[in-house]
Symmetry: C2
Subunit: 486 residues, 2 copies
Amino acid sequence: MDEEENTPKVASVTSEKLLEYIKRKDRKAIQTVFDIVPNIDIAEASDDFEPADLLFIFRSIDSEISADFFDELSSDTKEKLISAMTDKQLVEIINEQYADDVADTINELPANLASRVLRAASKDMRKDINQLLQYEEGTAGALMTTEYLDYIDTALVKDVIQDIRKKGKDAETVYTIFVRNKYRQFVGTVGLDDLIFAEPDQALSDIMDQDVVSCTTSTDQEEVANLFRRYDLNAMAVLNKDSRLVGVITVDDAVDVMAEEANEDIAHLTNMSRADKPYLELSAWENARNCFPWLIALLILGTFTTMVLDRIEKQHVFTMLPMLIAFVPTLMDTGGNAGAQTTGLMIRGLAVDAFGPKDVLKVLWKEVKAALIIAGIVAAFAFLWVLLEQYMGIVSVSGFENMNIWNGQCWSLDFFGHTLKSSALIAITMGIAILTSKAIGTLLPLGAAAIKKDPALLSQPMLTTIMDVTVLCIYLLMAMAFFPGI
Amino acid sequence: MDEEENTPKVASVTSEKLLEYIKRKDRKAIQTVFDIVPNIDIAEASDDFEPADLLFIFRSIDSEISADFFDELSSDTKEKLISAMTDKQLVEIINEQYADDVADTINELPANLASRVLRAASKDMRKDINQLLQYEEGTAGALMTTEYLDYIDTALVKDVIQDIRKKGKDAETVYTIFVRNKYRQFVGTVGLDDLIFAEPDQALSDIMDQDVVSCTTSTDQEEVANLFRRYDLNAMAVLNKDSRLVGVITVDDAVDVMAEEANEDIAHLTNMSRADKPYLELSAWENARNCFPWLIALLILGTFTTMVLDRIEKQHVFTMLPMLIAFVPTLMDTGGNAGAQTTGLMIRGLAVDAFGPKDVLKVLWKEVKAALIIAGIVAAFAFLWVLLEQYMGIVSVSGFENMNIWNGQCWSLDFFGHTLKSSALIAITMGIAILTSKAIGTLLPLGAAAIKKDPALLSQPMLTTIMDVTVLCIYLLMAMAFFPGI
C-alpha cells in the first residue's frame, strides 16, 4: 500500500504563504485559509510571526474564529500578542473565549499581563474565571468549563429547543443538556438528539437519562478521564458539596488529560520528572532539570549496591571463582527487568482502574502464579545457556582457564561437575531473583496507591536498588552453599 | 477533604441484589436498576451469572438497552450466552447492535458461534459486518462504524432534520452529519447544533465545516487517536481510495485506542508483550507468556556483557584495584537510566506526534545539549560522592584495606592521590556513559520509527545491552589511562 493512502486528509498552509497574504494585505485569502484549514494548524504555522502580523490575521477573521485561533497559539506567543494588543482588541478576543480557556491562559502569563487580561474580561466572565482559578490543578474543578446549558426538569422540550437556539452558541457543548430539580440539584442529562426526537410538549424529566455519572470539583483528573472512557461520555457534570451543578467537563479536555497522564506514567517509569511543555518547546536546561536529579538520586541509592558488591567480591568463593562475578550484571538485569514488567502492569492497571489497592491479594496471587511459571522457564533456559557459555569458552571456567576444552584436556568428571554446579547456581539465583522481583514489583506500586501516592513515582528506582542488593545477597548465599569447600 | 467528596457519583447495584430480583422474577425492579445504573456496571455485576439468569435479565428490558448491555459483557460470558440463546433471541439481540460491535464480538468467538451470529444478522447488517471484518486490526477500517448519517450537500436543513428524526436512532452518532457532493465524495461535516441553529431553507453546503480532517481505511489507529486529540473531534470520516465515505469513527472508540496505545508503549518500555485482555482476565499462563520470552531474549543479549566483564575483570588494573569492580553496576545502571529517560521521551513524543523521524537532527541536537548539562552535573556529583564513599570506608580503598582512615594511618599524599584518581576515573566514565547513552537513546527509537517499526519495541532492551558493553569498554580504557603503572 503506498504512503499517500494511509495519510489522513486535511488542508494545510505554509508560513510563507500566510506571510505573503499578510504582506499584500489580502484579507480574503486569509479568510479562505481559515475556511479550509483547521485553526490549530494555522496557529502552528504562524506561531513565530511578529505581533503586528498576527494582529493583521486577527483583524481579518471573525471574532468567533479568532478566539479559538488565539487559544491554539503557544503561551510565549500569547504573551507577546497580549503585550502588543490595544485594550479594545484584548476585550474582543477575551470575551469571545470560554472562561476555562482564559483561566488556563492566565495561569501561564506573568502577573502584569494576567491582570490586564482579567480587566479586559466582562464582569460575568471575570466572576467565572476567578472561580475557576481557585481550584487546584489536576482536579475536575480546574478542568471544567462554566459555559453549559442547564434547565429545570419541568421545562418543556419545545421551550428548551427555542432557548438553545438563542443561547446555545455560547455553550462549550450543546450536545449534552444538564437537568436540575427545584432544589437546584443535578438529576440527569438529555442528549441533544433525544431532545430533537422527543415530542414538543414532553417535560425534560420524561426524556432525561438518570443513569449518569458525575464528579465533584475535587475529583482527580485521572479519575475523570477514566470515567469518560468507561462510560463513553461526551460531557460530565461537576457538582459541589450540595450536589449542585457548578461546571461541565467536555470529552476533548478528558482526552487531553489521558495523554498527559500517559506521559506522566512513562516519565516516572523512566525515572524522569514530567515535562509541562511539548518536547520541542523545552529548553536544554528544562530538559536537563527533568533528568539529572533522578540520576543523582539513583546514584546515591546505588551506593548500597557498590557497598555490598565491594564486600562480596572479596569473599573467598568469588575470588576463587572470578567467573561468577561476570554474571552479576546479567543476574541484576534479569531481576530488574522481571520486576519492571510487573511494575509496568501495576501502574497501567491502576491508571486505567482495571484494579485498585483493595485487590492487592488477588493481584499478588495472579503475579505469584505467573512468576512461578516465568521463573521456572527462565531458570531452566539459563541453566542450559550458562552451561553452553562455559563449554563454548565464552566465559572462562575457573580452575580450567589454561586448558583447551575441545582437545579433551578438560573432559574429566571434575570439569563437568564444576560447570554443572556453576550453571545450577546461576539458574537458581535467577529463579529466586525473578520471584522476589515480581513480588516487590507488585507490592511497591500497590502500596504507593494505597497511601495515595503516585504508584509510578517511586516504584521503579526503588525496585532497581532493592533488587540489585537482594540479588547480590542471594547470589552470595547460594555460591557458598554450592561451593562449600572453596 | 474527606474521601466521599472526591468520589464520583453514580448509582450502583450488587450481584446479590440482582440475583434476588431474578429469583423472585421481579422485572420491574430490574428495569428500575437499568434506569439508574449505567449498563457497564450492571454487566460487571452480572458477568458471572448463569446463562438462564442473564436471559431473564434480557427478557426484562427493552431490546435497545439489552443490545448495549450485551455488548458490555466479557467475551467469555457472551460466548456462554450465545450458546444458550434460541435463534430468535439471538436475532433480536444482534440486530439491535451496531455492526462494528458485532464484528468485534465475532472476532472473539469460536468459529461455530461466529457463524451462528452471522446467520442471525439481517442481510444488510451481514453485508456491513463482512465488510468490517476485512480490515486489518489496528487500522481505521477495523475501528469504524457503518451506521452514520450522510446527506448530499444540496439537501435543505429542514429536510435533513426531518430525516434525522426518522433515521437518527439507528446511527452511532447524530452529533456529526457527514456531507457528500454529487460524485459521492466527502466534502465536509455539519454539527447537529449548527443544523438546529440554521435557517430551514439553507442548504447543507452553506453551513457545513470544510476545515475537517478525514482518514482512510488503512490509517493506523494510533494516528486516528492523535487526530481526535489534536483537532478536538467528536467523529471523523473514513474514506476509501476514491475519497468516498465508507465509515465513521466516534470519539469513544478513539478514547479506547488511546488507552490501548499507552498500555502498549508501557508494555514495550518494560520489556513485555502487550496483553490483549484486561489484567484481571489474564490467566497465569497468558501473563507469563507475555513476560518470559523477553527475559530470555535479554538473557541472551546479556551474554555480551558477561563475556566482556569476564575478560575485563582479569585485566591487571582491575585485579589490582578490585574496588573498581564494585562500581560496575552503578555505572551500568546510570548509563541505562540516562538512556531510558531519552527513550521514554522519544517514544512518547513519537506516539503523540510531537515530532517525527524527519526531526531527527533537531531532536538529537536538543538531547545533546541537555546531555552535556546532565553529564556535567552528574559527573561532578559522582566525583564528590565516590570520594566520600572512600573516605567513609563504604568501599575499601585498594592498597589501604587494612588501615584505619580515621586515626590518620592513611593521611598520606599517596592515599589522597589514589582516591582522587579513582573518583575522577568513575566520574569521567559516568559522564561519557551518559552522553553515549542519551545519543543511542535518541537514535534507536527515531531509527525504528523511520523504518516504520514500533519505536518502543526494540529500543529499550537493545539500549541496555549496548550500554552495558559500552560502559565496560570505556571503563577499562579509562582505568588503564588513569592507572598506567598498575
